[in-house]
Symmetry: D2
Subunit: 481 residues, 4 copies
């Protein structure tokens, strides 16, 4: 998948939290900035200043609002959590921007979430039936209501009781007037790491958010673990029955930043190895290896180094894209892909090109990129994809299209090759991807990663999907509110 297809496969969020630092909000802003690739449409920070909770939530990039001194000053306090996310525009949905906050019996409670609850709508329906008023359409609000209604005494107990009712994937950070809490779902699908800066603890979706502030990586939060950070230090709970971790493999393929270390593995390194495995599995007689920028670059380097075929920047990315321009109506071939990418003709012309992309979702851009290579004079185009065919939608916080929009769910390999117009097409095998992770192969009984997009093997129940009314209908109803 090239960056052109960001509309079809998006991480939904990134989270950050810090406890005990006088510049908590400024540091949170920097951390969120480093996590910006996980969500560009809205950002929010809640800080607690010892007396009250201060909240700022905005549409746009972190730097658009949270680089501003006035905003940071309003976010006084030494404990803070933050969130970046996708969202659409308008008043109605600013309510959906996280962290969510509520004044509950016992004090304020803020929470930010990366992931998706597979029984979120089912829980929401029960809550509304019991007289709850939901202001947002995000499943994160469900946690707020569960905590609000819990009859337990302490916030941590109320929070854990709430987690027990939830199915799906989550990396959560929460803030009370005394504690910063982090939680990762029982399978550890979404990432969450613990860092430390001059003795103060930090929680973040990725290590790159620690690097930007010069913090030290301590460890990954474990699957099913709840950590409680307070004046008296850090405490760890394991409220769920123990089971092996099964993190989402897409963090390595596409979402995480290449300089992050996720679950102990360098993302850049894994991506290069995916390229190398791909070269071993599907070599090509070629003159140049060309990445689809920017996400295809590490795999292309790996492919080049393993195959000896030289790596060249055969596609140049225009860094200034954002909006869609008016297309001239006359006499111009479709511009689309050229707004963002252009062929570096000198490198392509007369060459046999191995084109490397990290993944293919709908395939519409692949067609255009291959055509762009042809237009630039490529003699042959061998398309290599550094992951297996995506055949199943995600329900754990990645915004995939429905099954009938997934190219690999609709066509076989030859069909896809013909559709894209490539001379050859190959995907990395499922075992190839596990080898890139340093494993011998996928364990079919206890798969080491969440990989249902390639295998259809969903790691949890899909309660909402199975429920009578489809989630899509419910979402519309909720949105209407």
């Amino acid at each position: 998948m090239s960056d052109l297809e960001t509309e079809s496969l998006r991480e939904k969020c990134g989270v950050f939290g810090i406890f005990g630092h006088p510049d908590a909000a400024a540091i949170t802003a920097l951390g969120l900035h480093a996590l910006q690739h996980r969500g560009q449409e809205a950002a929010g920070i809640v800080a607690f200043d010892g007396r009250q909770f201060n909240s700022e939530r905005r549409h746009g990039l972190v730097g658009d609002h949270f680089s501003n001194e006035r905003v940071i000053k309003r976010l006084a306090g030494s404990a803070s959590i933050g969130h970046v996310r996708y969202a659409t525009t308008g008043e109605t949905v600013l309510r959906n921007v996280q962290p969510l906050f509520a004044e509950l019996e016992g004090g304020g409670f803020a929470v930010a979430h990366n992931g998706n609850f597979t029984n979120g709508l089912t829980l929401r329906r029960q809550l509304v039936r019991d007289g709850a008023i939901c202001q947002s359409t995000s499943d994160t609000e469900v946690i707020l209501h569960l905590v609000a209604r819990s009859r337990k005494l302490r916030f941590v107990e109320r929070f854990v009781e709430s987690l027990r009712q939830i199915e799906g994937a989550y990396a959560l950070v929460a803030l009370t007037n005394k504690k910063l809490v982090g939680a990762r779902d029982p399978l550890g699908i979404r990432p969450l790491v613990l860092g430390e800066l001059n003795g103060r603890y930090i929680l973040a979706s990725e290590t790159c958010a620690l690097d930007i502030i010069g913090a030290r990586f301590v460890r990954d939060i474990e699957n099913g673990e709840v950590v409680i950070i307070s004046e008296s230090g850090i405490e760890s709970l394991k409220p769920f029955a123990p089971q092996p971790a099964r993190p989402c493999i897409f963090e390595y393929i596409y979402f995480a930043r290449p300089d992050s270390v996720v679950n102990g593995r360098s993302v850049y390194d894994v991506r290069k190895r995916m390229g190398a495995e791909l070269a071993a599995e599907s070599p090509a007689e070629a003159d140049v290896v060309v990445p689809v920028p920017d996400s295809g670059v590490p795999a292309a380097l790996g492919y080049s180094q393993a195959s000896g075929v030289p790596f060249e920047l055969g596609i140049i990315r225009n860094h200034y894209v954002g909006r869609t321009f008016i297309q001239p109506s006359q006499a111009i071939r479709e511009i689309g892909v050229r707004m963002k990418h252009s062929a570096n003709r000198g490198v392509i012309e007369g060459k046999r090109v191995v084109l490397i992309d990290d993944s293919v979702v709908r395939g519409t851009t692949s067609v255009k990129i291959v055509q762009m290579m042809r237009d630039a004079g490529a003699k042959e185009v061998h398309f290599r994809i550094a992951c297996p065919p995506i055949t199943h939608p995600d329900y754990y916080g990645i915004d995939t299209p429905e099954r009938d929009k997934l190219l690999a769910a609709q066509m076989d390999l030859e069909g896809m090759r013909a559709y894209m117009g490539a001379d050859s097409l190959a995907f990395l095998s499922v075992d190839g991807i596990y080898r890139s992770m340093g494993l011998a192969r996928r364990d079919p009984v206890r798969p080491q990663f969440t990989d249902h997009c390639f295998t259809g093997d969903y790691p949890t129940r899909l309660t909402d999907v199975l429920a009578e009314s489809s989630p899509r209908q419910w979402a519309m109803l909720a949105e209407a509110s």
Copy 2:
């Protein structure tokens, strides 16, 4: 009180609703525009289109947003309610802009409110204790939660059950997917009228909102009455024990538009009679009667006609004021009042002036206006106020300062006269104001109007005021959320 003092005495809201009209939102926008004097800081409309509820809420004037075709189109539907109000700026408080809406068990429910619940904070505390999450700091949200939690079957029953728990003043309009509901508190403190346009029913705070759309005035909603408007017509409930009405007298003195008819009386007419009563009670040897514009004009006309002293526009209002300008630091006498008002010297110079204002709250502007008359060469300034001294704060939806900021609570008549620098000062008597209403006098046992600002005689319990924690502290906590 001149318009210069609008910071000290403000009506909190105006409401409007219509059922069964294809242009419901456009008509609601017009109605709210006519009610703009009741609240200039925010406005909102919710419409139901047979399938879903559509909501638009904005800071600013009705005309700033709701004159826009795109906004009105988004508010599709044949039933609609709207609200104008005061509010401050920023994200946190857009949540406070009404109508409030929630998707409840049984369908959506929207509500808009003019008034104030004297037990609002007490109810809110109970709700939070029971696990409710309050998103706004407005007491209107309390109704939503009470309705959400009611175990009654039908919305109207749930609404009535909620009203029974509420103390204070309210004129409410609510919208469900089947009905438009209106309610006025047991004493009818805040106004609400029923209108009719081509067979469709309308609810509005004042008759001027009917006039703008050419609708017919049907009748006032009675004190303690709930009206339910649906496809099958209009129905009236009286869920409270019957008692005499006791409407707020300030609607006549200051809030209502002069062309409105409130509880059967023309506001313009009442104001002129207040001026005439004032002339009878406190005549003055003078050459001209000068109103403090614009709210003092009708009383000044009444005073002039009763006394025979000619009416002149001795103070000219600058219509373009809004903001406070930087004051030059050097060599200029305080500009303040001149930003908005200026003396019409030709009318004042060498004259004995009777200056008429509708009311005095803090008195700071009165001082400046009297000085302005002196500067323009007035020989004598006789200040006449067309209502009694304001000695007590309001708790029913009027934003009065606290007691120690009320001039008449701090000084006697001579003290006030000296403070203002007038040659003479007189207020209309309490009985004078009742006479202006066409009554013989105030009935001390069953006062015909809510007049506690002059008398200290509050018509309901003040539960929140009496509660341990002061409302102000609670408001801050809530605002923090």
Copy 3:
């Protein structure tokens, strides 16, 4: 003409200047605020700080931008001129917002203008032919170019040389790095007054701009006079052949603020006398005198006092109007006029009404106001206009419609009455208006006022109008630039 017709008759500008005051820009902002009625669409201030000229020009009201401390701080300096004007939106026309400024040989030169040059386009054409580049479409820029091209040594000489080439009406204020200059056209058509604040001189379009800052009125700048204000005091030049003044009569009828004193006469006073003359010329058997607010109020008071028919606020103005609302498409009679005005039914119903307006331009609103009186139950409507029929367009800085849009140029009195639907209609006579000014009658040989709108007697040559290409075409070309 009611305020509803402001689209058809607008003053184009107001000017202000001050020399030698440390808060020059702040004072200029206040002065412009007091002149806001002369132009609401854009405002600008240029100040000289001893080293450089600082300029801020903005669309919108003075208070929207120039009440801001940062803006005023950017306008450092002890000499300053300012301007309010009409203009449309967008980038192209911000160039037209005054004061205009240019860095010329010898130093910077800023100028602001109220009026219109009747040979402005002719001069512009000559300048362009000689290689000048015009950035704005305002005729004010012509002065800049004439000054820039003058071969005289001193700025004042260059300015006077430029004025000699100009025909038409103007009140100009100009600023160099040493002087503040004011000029009024040879007939004194547009107003300009001299004031004084603690020994510093001020120039302003009207005295109300002196009042707001507590400055003292010194005298009117004379027709054909140029005043030069500098460190060494004030100097007066009379560069034109002497002739009697002939100020614009419309300042009294409509433009000037009622509390201003224009050419020695109180505007409020003149307006009241116009009402009194009207009562004498065209009495009516009636119960109430009702002004069309706000501009008809003084004349109505005069009519009432002269006739003994009581004055009542029969029409209430909504102060919050600005934009045009979407009109509901169904079942509602045209709303138009009701957005801004509403009938005060209690005063109108069953009454014989004398309706007073200050003028009639297109007459479209008059029709609606009469109808509004009928709808409110008026028994009879006698329409009285406190000036003569407007039959000719203006070319001196008032934005009148072309002749075929002027009602009185298209119909006779009975035609107009029938069109408006009034029971009777009368205009003040031309001599009546002169009597209101304290004169016996209009001198047909040397008319004492510029009154061509009523008489067709234009006081200067209309060079551009007579030129081959019409001004309108040129304006379009220029606008395109």
Copy 4:
């Protein structure tokens, strides 16, 4: 120079023009978007619709405004020119955004400029002395005035006469109501190419602007050539004495997009060869070649391929940077460079790193990047710069700091190495850069490129620099206007 230093070395502009296409403005917007790297702070388009010129000029990116359908519709016409540039904010300087336009005798004239006139201020002074009024501070306006004042009959003659008075570097596109004109300075310092789309001619700064719209590259405009494009085709003038071309070498080093072909050479190719020459001149015992992204990537690839040391993405760029964040005040080492770049630790740790950058201006970022490598655990850091030391400022349209801010003008090689903290430092030699261009060496008598930044050998007179008053003072005066 890394992208972090864009504040110190900036191309000033890019230009585009098309004649005879019904979608001229939409195509111009696309072309400007492809040229966005040449100027990100403002953009403008002027189009001629056969009747009038339409202009839109805005601060911000092309995509921020010119992707909008309404804006493009306002730019009707089949001939259009556009411009991207740097500029600061505020009203005053929107006047500087190009294309500039004026209505001249004979019709409208629009012009857009990339480059700088070395006698621009001198010419401006003469023009002001002769009565010209300059609205902008850009030297482009000088052309407008020269054309306006020319006594020649035809626009092309007037334009050529103007060019004869100008010294310095320029690539100009101009639009009249009949013609599109392009001109390149006598030495061809700034680039300009001719393209063709379905028979319609296009002018653009770089070929990448042709590629985006699928246009064909025809040829470079020659040094000293003026091309006139009209309904009757294309015509070429050579109004200057012939001399060899001497294009700016910095287009290859930094400015042009890697996929552009400038003066017949692929930019990407030249950059890779610079890296290869650098590897030959200054090899290093190392484990990885790491580019400073993004501009150092091609040279690093060239270095890696020539040296056999593997290429790795050792620095990851954050694509979402824009603003400067508030820096936490406590306990955090300076964040600066980490906002934009972060070390990819897995690639760096324990390695001997060859760090490749395209150039060094002030050197402040180089220090930080070297430190970042150290912090990430690099064993050795060998810094290699793919161009010679920059010792002299530019006066031809590149925004260089003054001499005393140029690191290489202040220190020798060892001094720079020590300052940067690198283990070794080497720059490409001047002859090395010429070899990268495919030449044997620099011809010291007739240098084949404009290379004064490295050699001090300025290709034209520097009239303004030599003039009495420094350009900086003049600029301030002008800016003040």
